[in-house]
Amino acid sequence: MNPHTPHPTPDTPLHELLRDSLDHCVKCTICETACPVSNVTPLFPGPKYAGPQAERYRDPAAPSVDSSVDYCSGCGICTMVCPQGVKIAELNAHARERLKNEKGVPLRDKVIARPTVLGRIGTPVAPLANLSLRLRPFRILAEKVIGVHRDAALPKFAGRSFRAWAKKHKSPPAQRRVVYFHNCGTQYYEPDVGEKVVAVLEHNGFQVDIPLKQNCCGLPLQSNGLFDDARKYVLRQARLFAPYVRDGAVVVGNATSCTLMLKREAREILELEDDPDLKLVSENTYDICELLLDLHDRGEFKTDFKPLEESVAYHAPCQQQGHWMGKPALDLLALVPGLRVHEMDAYCCGIAGTYGLKVEKYDIGMRAGEDLFRQVADSGAASVACDSETCRWQIEHATHRPSVHPIEILHRAYGL
């Protein structure tokens, strides 16, 4: 393209806004220092090239030109570290959506992007499903047929759902009210984490409402380029939670990826900036650790912890870091007497939701996480605390150490 040709007309006003941010790029390379993917593979040329540089050459009227953007994991670290406010990850998410829809979204991506569908199928037949997922021949077949890497960390179906428990649970009425967004991981794979979240909240004087019609927030659909479906899912969540917020509750979740979708990604990446329900929910959604640390800063958090004489590594997932709020889990864990917490200094574990499951990306994901895995080993900690379930599965797979949500540790220290 002749550099003097005016920019092609962008698709939408929000895209235009994102695009405006690229003029702030001063090519300082700070995003490149942090990108977990381009640091380990040349298949992705890095956020600076694929983002602000390539964006100038993307013409909505012409075919997508940069297939490498499919190798961006969408972790969002580039946007966070950029000192000039360039919306690098968001521009790349748009470019990836165009690319994938032009080339056709593979069946694999449509399947793994629907955790609720998978959960509903797997839960009733959990023993069989879990066995199959651990059988080598089945995994090899799955790799060949749908392209999920044979070694990728897949969770175990719990065989029961969180909502089955929630249906019977009655939260004592209280002044402080939250509505619990439990996410798909809790619903189908880790219902005990959800139960502990509720217990910790109730111990701190919250009334916890749990709407039973919850579904996926749409994040995996969005990161796999299925924007239309993602919009339907996230708006369904917004419609469900908005009335609770209007009634004085705040939304709280324990999966930092899913809460980030509600807080920011749906509005920015899916261009749902103006939906009133989503806006309200977005502004009133809290990560569980964020909520509890706020409580502590007000002097209202219960610290009746019994000592835990153990050592734990803490990793903040990329999408936790995308909340742009620091690492509240660390400050909460520091309140537990006896507990020795090692902060891991890493941007990403490499799984990035569904990225590291894919046969062509599994090795990249494992290498992207190497820095973290090495730090975990060096720390000598027996377990790893981490706020996102897919990251926990990846960390367990790579480090052979149990990985838990920080709330599970607080729950144990409270002796609940």
Partner: protein
């Protein structure tokens, strides 16, 4: 959230102020829009390289005259003798930091002259151990080696200019397979963290080096364990090896960030990256809180003290628009040194003294911003310096960050005593 001090900016000045305060027991949060300029800087601590009369041999001898000639300079505000303690404190952070054995050497008494990527001599007060072998007052011949895959560093250019200045220098360009057609300096540094790669490198280069030569490389001697990488290479090659700073991203700069961040965190300070400060509340002349962009909504950080260390015009923290309106973007503080309406904003000669270069937040002699009681300013947000010409960037950032911390501690101590 309530803090004793909220520091805005995560460059050298902000992290130094934050780490120092946290170390002294203050409840500190460092909030920054993004990662700071550490990653772009060469990683040396330059205090005063040029004072207007030419190259400075000894910063400690030159500073008193320099500050009396430039009464508005940040060094004049904090005092010439306040630089030393700040540098000592920084060197201590490095020594007790996360990179085993990695240290800063040198002193304020004598600038160390190190080669730049284009083979010029650069005066620095403190230099990391990985660069110390490049001291140009040492007569040992230099072989500058580069990598074809690292296009940001040209060994022939560096060696030719060193030779022109009278140093015995020659160059080598090495072909080493990294699996990529192109690398940046940080990518190369990550390869050097791997001992297998170092073995391959040593095997390739050792037969091409002459007896008595020291080996200069672009600054790629590892990120994780630079001292380990240096020691290993010197053992394998049987000669001094040193780094020459090159284009960003800078591995030695990243180490500075890692060191200061670790000092902050180890002392219990919080760090929030990605959060642009976009508002504040005041009670008279006191800034009582700042609010920063976060996902979903702005987060409010209440503070007794605020340290502004967001940088100057180059970082975008201070702007001058087409109507000559100058703005400090985080807190809207009054500025000095801005070009007056109708006057030139730029000089057509790039290397001339650019009129907007001296802009900065107006402060009193305690670094307290004009119109406030509790906002301190540090680093490149201060007016009165042209750090790239003076060779003074890190010295200003460390000494003003350290001085800002000192002021807070003294005033808080006075409050507590009262």
């Amino acid at each position: 959230m309530r803090y004793d001090v909220v520091v805005i900016g995560a460059g050298v000045a902000g992290l130094a102020a934050g780490a120092r305060l946290a170390e002294k027991g203050a409840r500190v949060c460092v909030v920054a829009k993004g990662v700071g300029s550490t990653h772009l800087a060469p990683g040396t601590i330059d205090v005063l390289g040029y004072d207007g009369d030419g190259r400075v041999e000894s910063p400690s001898s030159a500073l008193p005259a320099f500050v009396s000639r430039h009464p508005q300079h940040p060094y004049a505000l904090v005092g010439a003798d306040s630089v030393g303690p700040a540098l000592e404190w920084f060197a201590g952070c490095v020594e007790s930091g996360p990179k085993a054995g990695y240290r800063y050497v040198g002193s304020l008494e004598r600038n160390t002259l190190l080669p730049t990527a284009v083979g010029a001599a650069r005066p620095s007060a403190l230099v990391p151990t990985t660069m110390a072998g490049g001291d140009l007052t040492d007569a040992a011949p230099i072989c500058v080696a580069g990598f074809r895959v690292l296009r940001d560093f040209h060994p022939a250019l560096c060696a030719a200019n060193l030779a022109r200045a009278g140093h015995e220098a020659r160059s080598l360009e090495l072909e080493i397979d990294t699996g990529r057609v192109e690398e940046n300096a940080l990518g190369m540094a990550r390869h050097f963290d791997d001992s297998g790669f170092r073995g391959r490198f040593a095997a390739l280069v050792s037969s091409q080096l002459k007896a008595g030569e020291r080996l200069g490389l672009p600054a790629v001697l590892g990120v994780r364990d630079p001292q380990g990488v240096l020691t290993d290479l010197e053992q394998r090659l049987g000669r001094p090896v040193f780094e020459i700073p090159t284009l960003p991203p800078s591995a030695p700069g990243l180490r500075v960030y890692d060191v200061l961040k670790a000092a902050l965190r180890a002392a219990g300070g919080r760090l929030v990256i990605g959060a642009e400060v976009a508002g504040s509340t005041r009670d008279g002349a006191r800034v009582t809180s700042v609010s920063a962009r976060a996902s979903g909504r702005d987060h409010v950080y209440e503070a007794r003290w605020v340290v502004l260390a967001t940088g100057g015009v180059a970082s975008g923290a201070i702007e001058l628009d087409s109507d000559w309106l100058a703005r400090e973007n985080a807190l809207g503080l009054p500025l000095s040194g801005a070009p007056t309406e109708g006057s030139a904003r730029f000089d057509p000669d790039y290397f001339a003294e650019q009129p907007l270069n001296r802009m900065g937040v107006t402060v009193d002699s305690s670094l307290i911003a004009e119109g406030t009681e509790n906002v301190l300013v540090a680093g490149a947000s201060l007016p009165g310096a042209i750090s790239w010409r003076e060779g003074s960037g890190e010295g200003i950032s460390l000494s003003t960050g350290y001085a800002a911390a000192k002021t807070v501690l003294e005033r808080e101590g006075a409050t507590a005593a009262a």
